[in-house]
Symmetry: C2
Subunit: 210 residues, 2 copies
DNA sequence: TCATATGTTGAATTTTAATTCATATCATGA
DNA sequence: TCATGATATGAATTAAAATTCAACATATGA
């Protein structure tokens, strides 16, 4: 059937790889790296253990691949949001909205990704990829730059921009975590974050103190 | 030597137990639960493996005991701070100060404790003690109550108190984590948290909008 | 001093899970 | 149809820890 497309074997290969990753993501995010065995992944993905090793050189490599994907999804989405045109406040609002969206759209990834960015990587092996840390760092720096510009323009009060970035990220994460753990306990949206954090840090025109 | 104190064997027992816990805390906090073996704990604490099992029925039990201790230290300190007399703002300031202090005084515990409260408990077995979760929950509720009172007295703007509690906690954790990971990168103290979060949520007398 | 209880030891056992690899299956094209 | 290379298989191997327990040490007090 079909003729010589650019690939074919390759697409098959990719599909299989994807399938394995999907199952592994589900399992890792539910039970954590150490509480999932290769046999379990094999079983759930309907491949043999040996086959897994054709796709990933070992368990850690498989995990790393997942983290990388997660990092891609989150990072690109957040960076894109920060690049929005508009005022500094608008950029940041876009960023918070994007964060809530990727968060909700990728709940399985959330647990993996958060274990890396939040509070360093605890348990999992020797803190994985510095690559991922770097990216997170880059995001925070970019966010800090937005704050910095906002401060220069006298839109925001004078706080160390990087710390503002850390703080905003902290609030967002905390609220998102809470929401994921107790959905529906307290309604919650992007505006709330913006309001709690911002309405305030955002300096009212008639109160500039500098 | 010495005569019949209320105990003696018991104090000896406790001392030994304490010694084991101390070593385990150090190791777990450095390398994570799964990357520390009972043999390593035995070696470092200068007991035999078998002896460890006289004190703790298994590895998980040992870990659990540590978490409980950590929880005690943190929880009692934070609750005490919230019970301070004074205005709502003062209570909350006391709480943030207490948090920074216990945090700094117990860096080894921090990693263990945070893995539990922040972002649920990832990796380690089936999310440990609900007891610990309960306590954390209690703390947040108490903090929320303070916010609630502050709102009633028109000291703070009207936000869902529980979410304010989550948010404040989130900011504090994020900044503390950052500080622990990159000490000296950006100076940082209780006032900063209070200012970023509060100066603002705290409603200026001349701006009440309700 | 000796018998008993209490605490300690670490080699041996058991468990658990990662990783390998000889064998089987399948797809392709001669 | 058959030969060949590419893939997939899963029982067998290996590795790493957790846990046990019979033997040893030490303290107590009769």
């Amino acid at each position: 059937m079909k003729n010589g497309k650019p690939s074919r074997k390759e697409r098959e290969y990719l599909r299989h790889r994807q399938e394995i990753l999907k199952v592994a993501l589900k399992l890792f995010s539910e039970k954590g790296f150490h509480n999932v065995s290769m046999h379990e992944i094999a079983e759930k993905s309907e491949f043999a253990v040996g086959t897994l090793y054709k796709f990933f050189s070992n368990k850690e490599d498989l995990y790393r691949a997942l983290m990388l994907e997660a990092s891609n999804v989150f990072h690109s989405s957040l960076m894109a949001a920060l690049a929005t045109s508009g005022s500094e406040l608008e950029k940041i609002r876009a960023c918070v909205e994007a964060k809530i969206k990727v968060f909700m759209d990728n709940l399985d990834y959330v647990r993996l990704y958060m274990a890396e960015t939040q509070g360093v990587s605890f348990n999992v092996k020797t803190s994985l990829d510095p690559e991922i840390m770097d990216r997170y760092e880059k995001f925070l720096k970019q966010l800090a730059r937005v704050f910095e510009n906002g401060i220069k323009k006298r839109l925001f009060k004078k706080f160390e921009p990087y710390l503002l970035a850390v703080a905003l990220d902290g609030i967002s994460n905390a609220l998102l975590f809470h929401h994921v753990e107790y959905p529906g306990a307290h309604s919650f949206d992007a505006d709330l974050i913006i309001n709690i954090f911002f309405q305030q840090v955002y300096e009212k025109e008639d109160l500039r103190d500098e």
